[in-house]
Structures are given as structure tokens and as C-alpha cells.
């Protein structure tokens, strides 16, 4: 076992770890936001919105994340330079980076799974609670805001924690679109130093550690939210 490479490569490793965490945070927060709309659309009464949301979830849950990422990066991303004016605009420095497309793909994918979970959770909220809310004169929007969604999120919380862990483990594929995340850093170190196992061991430890932190954080969150069963 040779770990002498850690010190010379520390910047690359830390930067990679930062990018992994950044991608996780972006995709989970934005994806969750999107998932709320998807879930509401799916339990709502508007058939167009319902079918659009269902179609979205089916498509993104039914195709491999790697293919989605490449479709977005090599497909969409290749046509962007031909949009007039875009290449000279202030957006281009962001749009030319793999990080943007990686975050986009991960977000869209996470939203699809989370949207389905949240839909199930919304249907699992006891009817009586919603009827009680209506009985005290709450408007549908207020019921959604104060009763239906908060209750659904509480119900979905344990599954949500699992999804975040799965999302963490999905992030290494972003290396295939030039994002130097933690796995990318390990790949480069393996290539440079010709060591096969040691860099992989280090990132394994990191992923396990991060997973532990995520599950602990959600445990705390679950305990903090008052429930009465």
C-alpha cells in the first residue's frame, strides 16, 4: 500500500470532493423543488398537467442516467454554439462547462424519482386530515401549503434519505463529461501514479463517510419533525 501521492495531489482531491458535494447539493435542492410541481401535477385534476408530469417521470426513470447525461451534453450541448449570439454572450462561460450539463442531467433525473415518491406520499396523507382542513375553511392553496405538502414530505422523508444516497452514488458518471469530481480525481491519480487500488480506496472511504453523514442528518431531521401516529 502506497499513499505517498495524497499530499502532492491534495488540491485535486479536495477540489474533486467539493465538486461532488456541489453537484449533490444542486441536484437534490433543485430536483426537489421540481419534484414538488411534478407531484402536485400528478395528483391534481388538470389532465394535461397530469399526463405531462407522468410522461416526464416515466421518461427519466425509464432511461439510464448515463444516456440522459450524454444526450444533454453531446446532443443539446453540441447545438448550443449554433444559437446566434450565445457564443459571445455572458452565459457562454457557464454553458461551455461540463459542470452545467452534469448538474442539469442529475437534477432532471432526481426530480423524476422524487416526484414519484412525493406523489405516493401525497396520496398517503390521511383523507380525514384534508377534510378537517377543508372544514375549518382553508382554501385549496392553503391546504396544500399548510397540510398536504408538509405531511407528505414527512411521510416521504425516510425514502428521501435513501434517494439522496443513491444520488451521491450516481455522481461519478459526470467524469465522462469532463467534470473533475472526486472519481475523476481518483482516475487521474491512478493514471499518473499507475497505482490501481489505493486511489479507489480513498474515494471509497469518502463516499462511505458522506453516506454516513447524509443518513445521520436525515435521522436528526426525522426526529426533529414532530409526528403523532
Amino acid at each position: 500500500m502506497d499513499f505517498s501521492w495524497i499530499f502532492p495531489y491534495r488540491d485535486l482531491i479536495l477540489q474533486g470532493a467539493f465538486l461532488t458535494c456541489l453537484l449533490l447539493v444542486i441536484s437534490v435542492t433543485c430536483g426537489f423543488g421540481l419534484a414538488i410541481f411534478l407531484a402536485i401535477a400528478q395528483v391534481g385534476k388538470n389532465p394535461v398537467a397530469r399526463w405531462l408530469a407522468k410522461g416526464y417521470c416515466t421518461f427519466f426513470r425509464g432511461t439510464p442516467l448515463l444516456i440522459q447525461l450524454w444526450l444533454i451534453y453531446y446532443g443539446l450541448g453540441t447545438y448550443l454554439p449554433y444559437v446566434p449570439g450565445l457564443r459571445t454572450s455572458f452565459l457562454w462561460p457557464i454553458l461551455r462547462e461540463g459542470l452545467f450539463f452534469a448538474a442539469l442531467a442529475l437534477t432532471l433525473n432526481f426530480a423524476a424519482y422524487q416526484g414519484e415518491i412525493l406523489r405516493g406520499a401525497m396520496l398517503a396523507v390521511p383523507k380525514g386530515e384534508l377534510e378537517a382542513a377543508r372544514a375549518v375553511g382553508m382554501s385549496p392553496a392553503m391546504i396544500l401549503r399548510r397540510i398536504w405538502l408538509p405531511r407528505a414530505i414527512r411521510i416521504g422523508l425516510p425514502t428521501f434519505a435513501g434517494e439522496v444516497v443513491l444520488q451521491l452514488k450516481a455522481t461519478p458518471i459526470v467524469f465522462s463529461v469532463t467534470v473533475m469530481d472526486l472519481y475523476g480525481a481518483a482516475y487521474k491519480i491512478r493514471q499518473d501514479t499507475l497505482l490501481v487500488y489505493e486511489p479507489l480506496l480513498l474515494v471509497t472511504l469518502f463516499y462511505v463517510g458522506l453516506t454516513f453523514l447524509i443518513t445521520q442528518a436525515f435521522q436528526k431531521l426525522e426526529n426533529a419533525v414532530p409526528t403523532r401516529r
Binding site: Y74, G77, T78, L80, P81, R87, R96, E97, G98, F175, S176, T178, M180, G184, Y187, K188, R190, Q191, D192, T193, L194, V196
Partner: protein
């Protein structure tokens, strides 16, 4: 007597195995034209394959090709899945710690291609604030770190092929690689349309000077010396120049 017979049988078996054992050449399964690539039926072709055939003819050995991913070549050699790395691997000090190399069989000239905008030259002046695509852990990557890291930024790719795609779509400003694959890319429709050759970088013999050689296991001197002799014979007989003409307009040695 019985033991002698047994020993003899084993000895003969080993000799037989030795005489018929193919030399296994490990070649990357990622396309790296014009050196190694695959035709439509999956057969390996390219300059390095022609050289391998010539060398094996010289050695009077049967050679087989084993497909290995680029990052798996050295582990495959060490675990005896292959006997020779024959895959445009530059001779570097870092690699010499793990494996031995034959004498070089070609010199990799390093150059850059970029979008067709007429701006020529690849010195620190032209590269200022640009993004350069480089395949991960190549000699070019080491060169970049030494000469350009403070003016330009590096983007790492798993294979040089992927960087071409990003160059064409404007995500990077240059691709820095061996001239062979670069010129091959410029011959394709996509390459012809988008990009042009910007020039070779200033030579730096400490990084780029050693050339490309075949890799063998540490201490496998017998094979290494036979390969050296065969490479020299192929060069001396004019065969080297002959098949090189099919691929290059210069002498790759």
C-alpha cells in the same frame, strides 16, 4: 526410471508449450488512429499493427492481439495477461518504475489543433486564458503542467477522441496531443469543417524526448532484447519506411 520418464514428459511438454506460446501484444481498445484502430469487422488495423506484424515476422513468432483499456495496460502486463504493451505508450520515468521499455519505435511529436480562425502558433502568448483539452496522464499533460499551466487551463479527457467532439462544439479552444491522431482527425469531415493545425509545441526533451516504445515486464530482458533486435531489423530492412508511407508524410521514427 519412472521419475526420469515423468521429468522428461514434463520437460517436453514445457518445451512444446514454449515453442507454441504466442506473444501476446496488449493494444488499447479505444481507437487511436492512425496507430491503432479497428475496421468495421472489429479487426485491429493501423501503423502499430503493421509494425507488430513486421516485428513478429522477424522474431518468427506467432503474435496475438489482446484488447485492453488504456488504464488497464500496465496492470494487465504485470498480471501476465499480456506480454508486451504495444500501444503508443511514451517512455517516461514514472512508467519505468513499474515496467521496462524496448528502444523507441516512433517519436511522438506534440502539437495542437484549434478552430479555424487563422490565428497560428502555440506559445504561451496565444494560449493565454484559453482552455486546452488533453487526454488524462499523457506526456502532453505533463508538458502542459510545466509550460502552460500558469497561463491556460487544462481540461482532462479519458480519451483524445472525446476532446475532438468538444473542440468542434466550442467547449475548448485547443486539443493538445500527438500529431498523428490530430492530423487523422483533421482528415475527417468534422475535423475538416471546424478545425486546423496550429503548430507543434517547442521541444522539451525531458518530457517529450524519449519517444514511444514497447512495454515489457520488469526483468523480462530476453523478450526485450529480442524485440529491440527485431525493431532494428525492421528499420534497417526498409520495411519500416515502406509501411509508414501509407500513414504519414514524414518519418515517424
Amino acid at each position: 526410471m519412472k521419475h526420469l520418464g515423468k521429468a522428461l514428459a514434463i520437460g517436453m511438454f514445457m518445451m512444446a508449450a514454449n515453442a507454441h506460446a504466442d506473444i501476446r501484444f496488449g493494444i488499447v481498445n479505444e481507437a487511436y488512429p492512425p496507430y491503432t484502430t479497428k475496421d468495421a469487422s472489429g479487426k485491429a488495423i493501423g501503423w502499430e499493427i503493421d509494425l507488430m506484424d513486421a516485428v513478429c515476422e522477424e522474431l518468427k513468432e506467432k503474435c496475438t492481439i489482446v484488447d485492453v483499456a488504456w488504464d488497464g495496460l500496465i496492470p494487465a502486463l504485470e498480471s501476465k495477461k499480456i506480454d508486451v504493451i504495444w500501444s503508443s505508450m511514451s517512455i517516461t520515468d514514472e512508467r519505468k518504475k513499474r515496467i521496462d521499455f524496448t528502444e523507441k519505435y516512433y517519436s511522438a511529436l506534440a502539437g495542437m489543433i484549434g478552430p479555424k480562425d487563422g490565428a497560428m502558433g502555440v506559445t504561451a502568448k496565444e494560449l493565454k486564458d484559453k482552455t486546452v483539452g488533453i487526454a488524462v496522464s499523457t506526456t502532453q499533460s505533463a508538458y502542459f503542467k510545466k509550460h502552460f499551466a500558469d497561463v491556460a487551463s487544462e481540461k482532462s479527457y479519458a480519451t483524445v477522441d472525446e476532446s475532438f467532439q468538444d473542440l468542434a462544439s466550442g467547449r475548448i479552444d485547443y486539443v493538445f496531443a500527438d500529431t498523428g491522431p490530430l492530423k487523422e482527425f483533421l482528415k475527417t469531415d468534422l475535423g475538416e469543417e471546424c478545425c486546423e493545425y496550429k503548430g507543434n509545441v517547442e521541444p522539451d526533451d525531458t518530457i517529450l524526448g524519449a519517444g514511444v516504445g514497447g512495454g515489457v515486464r520488469k526483468g523480462d530482458d530476453a523478450l526485450r532484447e529480442r524485440l529491440n533486435a527485431a525493431i532494428k531489423a525492421v528499420r534497417d530492412s526498409g520495411k519500416y519506411a515502406e509501411f509508414s508511407k501509407k500513414y504519414f508524410d514524414y518519418d515517424p521514427y
